[in-house]
């Protein structure tokens, strides 16, 4: 193995997933810095003329392992970030209205996103120490589903639906009942009289009044 392979991998797999994570979270994960430090140490050892060729190649292999590890981790972090952004809407019936997709599509995609995430993790665990590239490809495929969901999330709709959710529910309903009761007391009508009589009869029937 040569350092060029590592740098190709860095540009092809690591940089894009790192950019995705930064775009989502606007932070740099500490784990990336740690792994970058490890990678540099091993690459430096590859160029250390005092080491045997076997040891130099051993170090370049280790550098690649660190790079694949951090790429897998970043894919997992992207998955977790996407889930954090999508889940509050995808899990609720009203929230699903915020997507520019049919509701059954949102349900299907979100279920697929979770299921394939678990499958990717199982694949990763079953192939520890080998098949890193396929593990990364597995995670990349899962995150493509996540991207479809995230991309169809309409932020204009989300604010509207959130307002709608706030304006519906038990509290506003009780407020409405109270306001209408107050209006009936202030402006009594035949309906009001009939309503009071109905309640009186009901309470009498139940034995609360005589």
């Amino acid at each position: 193995m040569t350092p060029e392979i590592i740098f190709d991998f860095y540009r092809e797999h690591f940089i894009p997933v790192y950019s995705d994570f930064v775009a989502l979270a606007l932070i740099k994960p500490e784990q990336v810095l740690i792994e970058e430090s490890n990678i540099l140490s091993h690459i430096a050892q590859f160029f250390n003329g005092n080491l045997t060729q076997d040891l130099q190649h051993d170090n370049i292999e280790k550098a690649k392992n660190h790079l694949t590890r951090v790429t897998i981790d970043l894919n997992k972090l992207v998955w977790a970030e996407v889930r954090g952004k999508v889940a509050p809407f995808a899990r609720r019936a009203k929230g699903r209205l915020c997507f520019n997709l049919a509701e059954d599509e949102v349900i299907g995609l979100y279920a697929d996103f979770l299921k394939k995430g678990r499958e990717a993790r199982r694949f990763e665990m079953a192939h520890i120490g080998n098949d890193h590239l396929n593990t990364i490809k597995y995670y990349e495929a899962v995150n493509t589903i996540g991207f479809m969901l995230l991309d169809s999330l309409d932020y204009f709709k989300t604010s509207k639906v959130q307002r709608w959710i706030k304006s519906s529910g038990l509290k506003p309903f009780l407020l409405g009942v109270l306001a209408s009761g107050l209006a009936m007391a202030v402006f009594p009508s035949n309906i009001h009289k009939w309503f009071v009589k109905l309640w009186g009869n009901l309470l009498k029937y139940l034995g609360f009044t005589s």
Partner: protein, 69 residues
């Protein structure tokens, strides 16, 4: 395909960057916010190979303090 989220948000192909530093600087320029280093989802990602606790250090500050102290 990785990089699509970045492309969608910043309308720039992430493949045009060569290092993480370039990405950090680009995001800083676009958002006006400096990218901070943070431990994220420690339950998902482990700090492999690191047995020591990581401490934040401001080397410049420390050096100045040592000079004046």
């Amino acid at each position: 395909m990785p990089g699509r989220i970045f492309q969608k948000r910043f309308a720039k192909d992430p493949h045009s960057f060569n290092t993480t530093e370039e990405i950090d600087n680009f995001v800083k320029k676009k958002t006006g916010k400096k990218i901070k280093v943070k431990i994220v989802h420690p339950s998902i990602v482990t700090r492999r190979g690191f047995v020591f606790k990581i401490k934040k250090l401001n080397a410049g500050k420390r050096f100045n303090k040592a000079l004046t102290g």
